[in-house]
C-alpha cells in the first residue's frame, strides 16, 4: 500500500492587508538597565506573517516587545514597527498593534465580554463597534456562553483566550504575543498554537510570538528569530530552514536488500542498516527506479517520503 509519496507542499502565505516589506526592523538596538544589558546591538528584520521570537527566560524578548510598543526608550539604536518609529510614534503604533502580555492581566470580577468591550473602547473604537467586535472576537478565539461569567472562574486556557481576544479586538495589523502557551497543558498548547496560526492565515494579521521553546514555534512560524542574552543568534525563514533535504526515505515490506542492490546498480547513493527502511539521494531517475524495482520484485512499497530538515537540528544548542 503506497503511502503519500511526498509531503504536502507548504501552504502559500495569504496576502496581508498592507505590505510594509518588513513588519519590524531594528538597527543596533541596545537597552541597558543600569549595569545589565538586556539587548545588545540587535539588528534584525522580521517579515510580515508569523514570526517566532525564541530565547530563554531573560533573553530580552519582553524588553524588545516593550521597546516596539513605544513604552520603553532604547539606550541606543532604533526600531521600526509597521514603518513607524518606536521612539517617537508610540501612540500611532499602539493604535494598529495588539499586545498579549505574558503575565496575569485580567481582573477577576468582570466578565470577558465586559472587559473586552471596555478595552476595545480604550483602543479608540466607538461603543457600538466595541460591543460588536468584542462578541465577534471572543467567538473567534473559542469563548461562547462562558464569556458572560466573571473571569475569576476561568481555566488557564480560557484566560489565555481572553488575553488573545483583547489583543485582536481592535483589528490590529500586527499582534505581539508574549509567551501565549505559558501554563497550558499539551492539548491547550496545541489549541493555542493553531489559534495563533489562524490569526495570520484566516484573519490576515501579522504575528510576533515569543516562546522559550523552539519546537513549538517551528510548527507555526514562517520566520524564526533566536536571541540569547540580548544578542541575535539567528534569523531564518522556516521555509528555507526546513527545505526538502533531497533525501528520500523508502520503506518496503520485504526483500529490502535486493531493492537496495538494484538501486546501487543504477548508481544511486543508498544508505541502509539492513532493515526494511533505507534512504537514498533522490532525483527523478531514482524515484522511477524505486517504483520499478519494487514492482519487478513484487514487494510492497510502504513509504516513499522526502525528508525535511528540522529547525531543531539547525539550532541544536538553543533548546
Amino acid at each position: 500500500m503506497p503511502a503519500d509519496p511526498v509531503d504536502h507542499a507548504a501552504t502559500p502565505n495569504p496576502p496581508t492587508r498592507r505590505s510594509f516589506g518588513a513588519a519590524i526592523t531594528t538597527r543596533h538596538l541596545t537597552k541597558q538597565f543600569g549595569p545589565v544589558t538586556a539587548l545588545q546591538d540587535l539588528s534584525v528584520e522580521m517579515p510580515t506573517g508569523v514570526v517566532g521570537l525564541v530565547g530563554a527566560n531573560g533573553a530580552g524578548k519582553s524588553t524588545l516587545i516593550k521597546i516596539l510598543l513605544g513604552l520603553l526608550p532604547p539606550t541606543g539604536g532604533d526600531a521600526q514597527i509597521l514603518g513607524r518609529d518606536a521612539r517617537t510614534d508610540g501612540l500611532a503604533i499602539r493604535q494598529v498593534v495588539g499586545y498579549m502580555p505574558e503575565s496575569d492581566c485580567l481582573p477577576p470580577d468582570v466578565s470577558a465580554t465586559e472587559l473586552v468591550v471596555h478595552l476595545a473602547r480604550m483602543s479608540g473604537l466607538p461603543s457600538a463597534a466595541a460591543r460588536e467586535r468584542a462578541a465577534d472576537t471572543l467567538r473567534h478565539v473559542g469563548l461562547y456562553e462562558e464569556r458572560y461569567r466573571p473571569i475569576g472562574g476561568y481555566s488557564t486556557g480560557m484566560k489565555q483566550r481572553v488575553k488573545l481576544a483583547q489583543a485582536l479586538v481592535h483589528d490590529p495589523q500586527l499582534v505581539l504575543l508574549d509567551e501565549p502557551t505559558n501554563g497550558l497543558d499539551p492539548a491547550g498548547r496545541d489549541e493555542m498554537l493553531d489559534l495563533i496560526r489562524r490569526v495570520h492565515v484566516d484573519f490576515g494579521i501579522s504575528v510576533l510570538v515569543t516562546s522559550h521553546l523552539l519546537g513549538e514555534l517551528e510548527r507555526i512560524a514562517d520566520h524564526v528569530v533566536v536571541i540569547e542574552a540580548g544578542v541575535l543568534q539567528r534569523s531564518t525563514s522556516t521555509a528555507e530552514a526546513t527545505a526538502l533535504s533531497g533525501v528520500l526515505l523508502v520503506e518496503v515490506t520485504d526483500r529490502a536488500d535486493e531493492v537496495v542492490a538494484r538501486l546501487r546498480a543504477l548508481g544511486a547513493a543508498v544508505e541502509t542498516d539492513g532493515g526494511p527502511t533505507f534512504s537514498v539521494a533522490a532525483d527523478a531517475r531514482v524515484l522511477d527506479a524505486v517504483t520499478a524495482a519494487t514492482a519487478e520484485l513484487g514487494v510492497g512499497l510502504v513509504r516513499m517520503q522526502r525528508r525535511r530538515h528540522h529547525l531543531t537540528e539547525l539550532f541544536g544548542g538553543t533548546r
Binding site: L72, P101, R121, M122, G124, P126, G204
Partner: protein, 291 residues
Amino acid sequence: MSDVIHDIGFRRYEGERFGRGWIVRSLLVDTIRGIFGLGRPARSKVMPWLLVAILALPPIVIGLVVLITGADRPPISYTQYLYQLNLPISLFLAGSAPYAVSRDLRHGVMSLYLSRPLMRSDYLAARYAGLAISMFAIMAVPQTLLMIAALLAELPVDEQLVGWAGGLLMSALLAVLLSAFGLAVATLTPRRGVGVAAIITILLVVQGFSFALSGLASEEDLSDLAVVAGALDPYRLIDGLSSWVLGVDAAIGEFAPTAAWQAGVLALAWLLGVLGFGGLLLRRYRNSVPL
C-alpha cells in the same frame, strides 16, 4: 470547551478610530460608573448607595424642621454641612479611591491599558477626574436637596441661592483635594482592603491631631497656631476657607481664620496638597508601574 466554530469569518474593522480624548472620556465614565457600582455585582452597590442615602437624608429632615418651626434660616449652612458629614464623605472616598486604581495595579491590568493608544498620564487623569466628579456629586446632591427644602419653606431665594453656590464651590475644592489624597494613598498598595483602611485611618488621625494641636495652642494663647493647625485636616481647611472667603459661619467658629494671612495659609495648604499628592501619583505611574 467546544471547538466547533460557526465561522462567519473574521471581519475587518474599517470604521472610525477615536483618539485620546475619547479614550480618556470613556475611562472617566467607566470610573464613575464603577464607583457607584453600576455594571458591578449587587454587593458592590451597597456601600456607595448607603452612604449617598446617609448624606441625602439630613436635608429632608432639616427641610421638615424649617417648615414646622417656621425658622428664617436652616439650622445648618451649606458649607457647615460638609464638615458635619465628614465621616460618610471619608468613608465614600475610602471605598472609591482604591476601586479606581488598586484593581488595575493588583491584577496587572495596567499592561492592557499601557499597550493602547493612551499615555500613562491620560489613564491617571481619567481615573482622577472620575473620582473627583463622584466625590463632588455626593456632596452637591445633598446640598441641592437642602436648597430645595429651604426654597419650599419659602426662605429668601437670593440668600439661599448664594449660599448654595458657595457650598458647591467649596464642595469642588474639597473633592479635588480629597481625591488627590485618596488616590495617592490607594496606589501605595495593590491590596484594596489595606487602601480602604489606610485612607479612613489617616483622615481620622490627622483630624484628631489637628484638633489636639489647636486645643493645646489655644490653651497656650497661641491663637494663630490654633487656626493654622486646621490646615492639616481637609475638612477643617475647607471650613476655615469657607468662613473667610464666603463670609459664612464656620462649623468650628472657635478656630475660624481672623486674619488674611491665616486664610492664605489654608489656601496654600490646599494648593500644596493637590499638587503634592498629584505629583506623587504622576511619579508613581511614570516610574514604577510596570507594563
